[in-house]
């Protein structure tokens, strides 16, 4: 179950940024600005994907958990699933 969530998130993001960085550049019309736009798309895809990937990998196997105050624990026990 946990694995499923992770796999879905991973594939959705990889697909999304992969399309932006790898597929959309082929559809940019020829013109003086084509090179700049393609560079921008590829770099955006790489930077944003990398940033998201680091965030999710850092949380994949947590070595310690959050330390909550008892009020918060009381609230979360009843309100969050």
């Amino acid at each position: 179950m946990a694995e499923m969530g992770f796999v879905i998130a991973m594939s959705v993001m990889t697909l999304f940024w992969g399309i932006i960085g790898g597929v959309v550049p082929w559809f940019i019309p020829k013109g003086p600005n084509r090179g700049v736009i393609v560079t921008m798309l590829v770099l955006t895809a790489v930077c944003c994907y990398l940033f998201w990937l680091i965030a999710i990998l850092a949380q994949l196997n947590p070595l310690f958990g959050p330390s909550l105050s008892t009020d918060v624990i009381w609230y979360l026990n009843y309100h969050w699933a």
Binding site: M1, A2, E3, G5, F6, I8, A9, P32, N33, R34, G35, V36, T39, M40, L43, T44, C47, C48, L50, F51, W52, I54, A55, I56, L57, A58, Q59, L60, N61, P62, L63, F64, G65, P66, S67, L68, S69, T70, V72, I73, W74, L76, N77, W80, A81
Partner: protein, 809 residues
């Protein structure tokens, strides 16, 4: 794209201009703004050049135009806002413009002088009227009372003992004289004291202040004046008094001897003042008319004179050829624009009606051409921030196209807040949508101009900040819970780890990921929202952000090193690829790439179950250099061997980097007997390479650590944001409803003001600066030299106008 990546290919060209059509050709070139002229007469001083007389005439016209503009500004006439662009006038039209300007100058001068004279006159008459009015009260008082002793009381500052009696003076037959006038209020005390000391009681001074402010004719400032009346006995006293009055800059007016005379004079003055007012009004109207007529064409004249002066300046840079019929000019021109250049020359020749056309001829050169990089309104901002560090060498790789994305991205990593990013993006979007609004474009406020020029940069920064804010899960210091947290508190209870009694007994309890069901998986988009509620939030975030900064830094630097291959390949120095690029890349990746690998490996492999044995990456990294590590648990089998291998490769790449290139070049130049196009100096080359090696190797270590500022600034931003929420907004939200609603409004205002000023402006500028530093130093010193010169094309639109500088236009 080629242009933005590398810069245009430039060439040196010679223009052969026929003497008759030179002026027109250069006018055409100025309108186009394509080429940069070189000075062919560098040894000639400014006063010896050929067209110095024409330039003097242009400067004379500019002087008159400046005078005109100042007068127009003084009269508060607004210049018509028009987008006119008149072409430079032909030399034969110069005289007519000059005549018109000179005529205007003379006329304006006359009218202004007349007006000043009239105003001075008016002022004198007004003062005279005041004086007569006020001294009437002095004399009336003295006439009403009975004379003799009682009179002395009217003159407040007299001392009885030294004063001779009025009656006794009359008996002596001394003549009573009067001097009256006005003096500045600040001087009256000193004046009185002086009179007393000099005349010792033979004078009587009485004075009263004028209620209104009178204009001082010399300075034009309103000042308070005092009307005085001096009565004296004897002619000599009279002379002394007059001299003292001169000394104190008094305005003296004749004192009427009787009341009838006084009344006549007052009547006369009144009519004269009325007449003067009328004449003055007419003069001012006429002046305004003249100025309005001038203001219609002054703008055109300014541009025409500016263009003319520029053309003559360029003509001075050209040289005559041997036959003395043709002007030669040397220009730097982009190769792609040579046909346009040729067409412009033909157009100029056609306009001047010359039969022989001017033409352009490309010549080879060894000088390094200036760099030209064509940008549009979007890329120009990013190109400017790269150029601020240094303009690229000719045809060197330009970091600007990559900076368009990496600069806002690194800014956003340091700024990462959804709410603040959204505000910044909206502000930039407003500026972008209204960029054609004239008022926004043409303000004189320097700070606003800086922001406006960078509107696309700010827009990109805002958009990326929205994304990083989403990943950091930070929106005005609160987290969004879109997908449901991966941590479950219920599970701690259902598994029996916590009981109800625990809650009563303790203040803080820590969730344990080892317990089943507590941790159900990583949050799919960014940082889990539960960390916002945790007290050990920073422990987790600091570790995450530091590792993220190091990984991003290593990737950014590797990208920089890889970009240098473009330069090596373009400048046909393939040996650089093997002797410089390869050792650099190996050094960087073997040491710091391995560090990044270890970080990611630890994230993937070590779970909560092994949390006790989880190794410290830093200790392992240090041990790698010291070639130790037998006492520690290896991260993976074969770790020691691999690490030794990597360290050996890195250490071996240093001497290759240091010695490879100089030795290879030495061998190359010794093998062939020719010296080549330049003298090869082994010592010089070796020194350069040694400096480069030391800089690179030490730089790798220090630059990697420098990227930790990404962590530091994002921590600072998050903490400031949280403090603002907890200390300002929460105070307002916690009050109960009746009073709280009213109290919340000023609290929110304070919150908004502090958010904009501290978090958006101050933190924004700070993150901007640090992202800029990371680009300029850590990224660009891997491949960019930035010691080039920018092309300054001869273009009329780029010429500054001195009037705009003085704020007259």
């Amino acid at each position: 794209m080629c242009s933005l990546l590398r810069g245009e290919e430039m060439c040196l060209a010679q223009l052969f201009l026929q003497s008759g059509s030179a002026y027109d050709c250069i006018s055409e070139l100025g309108e186009l703004g394509l080429v940069e002229f070189r000075d062919l007469n560098p040894s000639v001083t400014t006063f010896q050049r050929k067209h110095v007389n024409e330039i003097k005439k242009c400067e004379e016209m500019e002087r008159i135009l400046g005078y005109l503009l100042r007068e127009v500004k003084k009269a508060d006439i607004s210049l018509p806002e028009r987008d006119v662009n008149p072409v430079a006038p032909l030399p034969k039209h110069i005289m007519s413009i000059m005549e018109q300007l000179q005529r205007l100058e003379v006329e304006l001068g006359e009218v202004t002088r007349n007006k000043d004279k009239l105003q001075r006159n008016l002022l004198e008459l007004t003062e005279y009227t005041h004086m007569l009015r006020i001294t009437r009260t002095f004399v009336q008082r003295s006439v009403e009372r009975e004379p003799l002793q009682a009179q002395y009381e009217e003159f407040p500052f007299l001392e009885k003992d030294t004063m001779l009696e009025y009656s006794s003076m009359q008996r002596l037959g001394a003549k009573l004289g009067f001097i009256s006038g006005l003096i500045q209020r600040t001087k009256i005390q000193a004046f009185e004291r002086m009179l007393w000391r000099v005349c010792k009681g033979y004078t009587i001074l009485s004075y009263a202040e004028v209620e209104e402010y009178l204009e001082d004719p010399d300075t034009g400032e309103p000042s308070k004046r005092v009307v005085f009346l001096i009565s004296y006995w004897g002619d000599q006293i009279g002379q002394k008094v007059k001299k003292i009055c001169d000394c104190y800059h008094c305005h003296l007016y004749p004192y009427p001897s009787s009341n009838e005379e006084r009344n006549d004079v007052v009547e006369g003055l009144r009519t004269r003042i009325q007449d003067l007012h009328t004449v003055l009004h007419r003069t001012e109207d006429y002046l305004k008319q003249v100025l309005m007529k001038a203001s219609e064409s002054v703008y055109t004249w300014v541009i025409q004179v500016k263009k003319m002066k520029a053309i003559y300046y360029i003509l001075n840079l050209c040289s005559l050829d041997v036959t003395n019929k043709c002007l030669i000019a040397e220009v730097w021109c982009p190769v792609d624009d040579i046909p346009t250049l040729q067409r412009a020359l033909e157009e100029g020749s056609r306009k001047s009606g010359s039969t022989v056309p001017s033409f352009v001829n490309r010549i080879p050169t060894n000088d390094a051409p200036p760099t030209l990089i064509r940008t549009n309104k979007f890329t120009s901002g990013f190109q400017n921030i790269v150029d601020a560090y240094g303009v690229g060498n000719y045809r060197e790789v330009n970091p600007a196209p990559f900076t368009i994305i990496t600069f806002p991205f690194l800014f956003a990593v340091m700024f990462g807040d959804l709410g603040h990013g959204a505000i910044m993006a909206l502000f930039a979007l407003w500026m972008v949508l209204y960029e054609n609004n004239r008022k926004l474009k043409n303000t004189r406020n320097e700070i606003w101009n800086t922001f406006f020029e960078g509107r696309y940069i700010i827009l990109m920064m805002g958009l990326f900040s929205i994304y990083t804010g989403l990943i950091y899960n930070d929106c005005f210091s609160k987290s969004l819970n879109i997908f449901g947290s991966g941590w479950s508190v219920k599970a701690m209870f259902t598994e029996g780890v916590w009981k109800i009694a625990d809650i009563r007994g303790n203040r803080f309890l820590t969730l344990d990921p080892n317990v089943t069901g507590v941790f159900t998986g990583p949050y799919p988009l960014g940082i889990d929202p539960i960390w916002n509620l945790a007290s050990n939030r920073l422990t987790f975030l600091n570790s995450y952000k530091m590792k993220m900064s190091v990984i991003l830094g290593i990737i950014h630097m590797s990208f920089g090193v890889i970009l240098s291959t473009y330069n090596h390949l373009h400048f046909k120095k393939k040996y650089n690829l093997y002797l410089v690029f390869l050792p650099e890349l190996l050094f960087l990746l073997c040491l710091f790439g391995y560090l990044a690998f270890m970080i990611i490996y630890k994230w993937l492999v070590f779970t909560a179950k092994d949390s006790r044995l989880a190794p410290s990456i830093l200790i392992h990294f240090i041990n790698m250099f010291l070639m130790q590590g037998d006492g520690m648990q290896p991260l993976y089998p074969g770790q020691t061997g691999l690490q030794v291998f990597l360290v050996v490769i890195a250490v071996l790449s240093v001497p290759v980097l240091l010695l490879g290139k100089p030795v290879y070049l030495y061998w190359l130049h010794n093998g062939s007997n020719r010296i080549g196009m330049y003298r090869f100096d082994f010592g010089d080359e070796f020194l350069h390479q040694a400096i480069h090696t030391i800089e690179y190797c030490l730089g790798c270590v220090s630059n990697t650590a420098s990227y930790l500022r990404l962590w530091a600034l994002s921590l600072a931003h998050a903490q400031l944001s949280e403090v603002l929420w907890a200390m300002v907004m929460r105070v307002g939200l916690r009050m109960d409803t009746t009073l709280g609603v009213l109290f919340l409004v000023p609290v929110f205002c304070l919150f908004a003001v502090l958010t904009v000023s501290i978090l958006l402006v101050m933190e924004g500028l700070s993150a901007f600066l640090h992202a800029l530093r990371l680009h300029w130093v850590e990224f660009q010193n891997k491949f960019y030299s930035g010691t080039g010169v920018k092309l300054c094309p001869f273009s009329f639109s780029l010429l500054p106008s001195s009037f705009e500088h003085d704020g007259l236009l």
